[in-house]
């Protein structure tokens, strides 16, 4: 067991009790600080270095084949603490071969940036790795409507990200090859 040693507090001397020497020391410190180098970042001209894992504006991404990854499972909508996400699900036409094996895609996908708290739950919960809080951090508009990011805006912000799984492509190729029985 660690033993706690109580150290007696040294009584203050008279000068210490006036606090004046300490005040003077403090004044010296602050004064010397005035001439040190400034750390302010001149924002619009200078941009900050975005650290890894930065949580910027949530965006939708496409896979390297330029297909939308979101399948509108609405998990992000469910998990979103401020209820900023609103999805209208829709079906992918059977004839649409570009979407590999997916049958579902969002008809409309809205993120209300006035509500978004940048918590990143949507990115964490996304089973398709379709939504990412990327490096974009400045989001502004003149009206409330402008601050609701629609699907096309979200894809424009998100761009294309590499994909390590190609889950649906694999399903599609499995379908094309058929069963080996």
């Amino acid at each position: 067991m660690a033993k706690t040693v109580v150290l007696p507090r040294e009584p203050l001397s008279l000068s210490e009790r006036t606090y004046l020497p300490q005040i003077v020391t403090g004044l010296k410190t602050t004064f010397s600080n005035m001439f040190k180098e400034k750390v302010t970042l001149q924002y619009p001209e200078e941009k900050p270095i975005i650290p890894k894992n930065y949580r910027g504006v949530p965006t939708l991404v496409k896979d390297p084949n330029g297909r939308e990854k979101c399948v509108s499972c609405q998990l992000c909508e469910f998990v979103c603490p401020p209820k900023a996400i609103r999805i209208t699900p829709g079906a992918v036409s059977e004839d649409d071969n570009s979407r590999a094996h997916v049958e579902k895609a969002p008809k409309e996908f809205e993120i209300n940036m006035l509500r978004c708290i940048y918590c990143g739950y949507c990115q964490e919960v996304c089973p398709e790795e379709a939504i990412f809080l990327q490096e974009e951090y400045s989001s502004s508009g003149y009206s409330r409507e402008e601050m609701i990011n629609k699907k096309d805006k979200l894809y424009e912000l998100g761009g294309t990200l590499p994909d390590s799984h190609y889950k649906w492509d694999k399903k599609k190729s499995a379908e094309d090859d058929g069963n080996d029985h």
């Binding site: 602050t30 600080n33 750390v39 302010t40």
Partner: protein
């Protein structure tokens, strides 16, 4: 029949008054800038450096420098206050609510009536102090008027009909009363000292105090304890940190002006800084030798209008340094808790001021003993 001379004099005084108001207000405005700049520098930041007037930017060297120093920032701040939406909350007492900022500003501006800021030499070498009114009881006037400032705060807190402003104003009034005493007591030894021994002429004139420090030690050196008590009391009276009980951003949101916004808030803001400016000037006059050069050193400038201007400049320099000192203290010391403020005022400063007074009474009595 009109007395043109009187009219002229009155007109002149009004002009002077307006000039003074302009000067003090400008200084208040730039104190705000100074506060922002100095605090920024102390914190490793750069402070306001964006605002600029059209075209000024393109003046080589100077333009960018002015911009960098934020010289036009007070202008923007003032305009912002002016153009902001005037919000009057529904739950306030409208009349007093509107009255409060005025009540707060008026005393701050009134006190400068008696402030001497330089001297003018007539052709026959006579020195005329530069001030709006040379009252015999100048210091009493200042103490009397400046303590009126608390009414603005109390009024604001009460009329806001809201708990934080109310708490802020109560604290403010308590604080004012607590430190008023120490402040007054700290000044008495000064006047004891300054009065010509043996003449019996008890001058409370600020001009006399300044004059007494010409080619003589400053009162700061003669009566350092008085100066210290006065300075602390001055901080408390101007509600500056570490005595910012009325505002207490940390625990009372905004204190007495929580419910204020826009121009009315701006007036409070200006009043606060006007207090600082005036307070600094008073301290300069009483303890730092006013417009006189240095302790024990005669003014090196000629007794002409040039000397007058240099004197005014020197006076301003001292005042500005004090304003800087106010800011410096603010960004150095942590703020007191309310009970600590009371404790310091009543159990430390007041006894100290009394002891100080007694000591100087005895000292002066001993000095004044007719040589027998």
């Amino acid at each position: 029949m009109l007395d043109f001379e009187l009219l002229f004099l009155v007109g002149l005084k009004v002009l002077f008054a307006l000039l003074m108001i302009g000067a003090v207000m400008t200084m208040a405005g730039y104190s705000v800038l100074a506060e922002r700049k100095v605090s920024a520098w102390m914190q490793g930041r750069v402070g306001p450096n964006r605002t600029v007037l059209p075209f000024v930017e393109y003046i080589p060297f100077l333009g960018p420098y002015l911009k960098k120093m934020g010289i036009f920032q007070p202008l923007a701040d003032g305009l912002k206050f002016l153009f902001k939406e005037e919000i009057i909350p529904g739950h306030v007492n409208k009349f007093y609510y509107n009255l409060a900022p005025i009540v707060a500003l008026v005393p701050a501006l009134t006190t400068m009536v008696v402030l001497p800021f330089g001297e003018f030499f007539t052709s026959d070498g006579e020195s005329i102090p530069l001030m709006l009114a040379d009252l015999e009881v100048g210091i009493l006037f200042i103490l009397a008027i400046s303590s009126l400032g608390v009414y603005g705060i109390v009024l604001a807190g009460w009329s806001s009909n809201s708990k934080y402003p109310f708490l802020g104003s109560i604290r403010s009034s308590a604080q004012m009363i607590s430190y008023e005493l120490a402040m007054g007591l700290s000044l008495l030894p000064v006047f004891l000292w300054v009065s010509e021994p043996g003449t019996g002429a008890m001058g409370l004139s600020l001009v006399d105090i300044v004059h007494s420090q010409g080619n003589a030690p400053w009162l700061l050196l003669v009566q350092p304890l008085s100066a210290l008590i006065f300075l602390i009391a001055l901080f408390a009276e101007t509600n500056r940190l570490p005595f910012d009980m009325p505002e207490s951003e940390t625990d009372l949101v905004g204190g007495f002006h929580t419910e204020y916004g826009g121009f009315k808030f701006g007036i409070f803001f200006v009043a606060e800084y006007a207090h600082i400016v005036v307070g600094s000037a008073i301290f300069t006059i009483i303890f730092l030798g006013g417009w006189h050069f240095l302790p024990w050193v005669a003014d090196p400038w000629p007794s002409t209008w040039v000397g007058t201007l240099i004197g005014i400049g020197w006076f301003l320099a001292k005042t500005i340094f004090l304003i800087f000192f106010f800011i410096w203290i603010r960004w150095t010391l942590p703020r007191f808790r309310y009970d600590q403020v009371m404790n310091l005022g009543w159990t430390k400063l007041l006894p100290l001021a009394l002891l100080n007074l007694i000591f100087y009474v005895l000292l002066v009595t001993w000095i004044d003993q007719p040589a027998s």
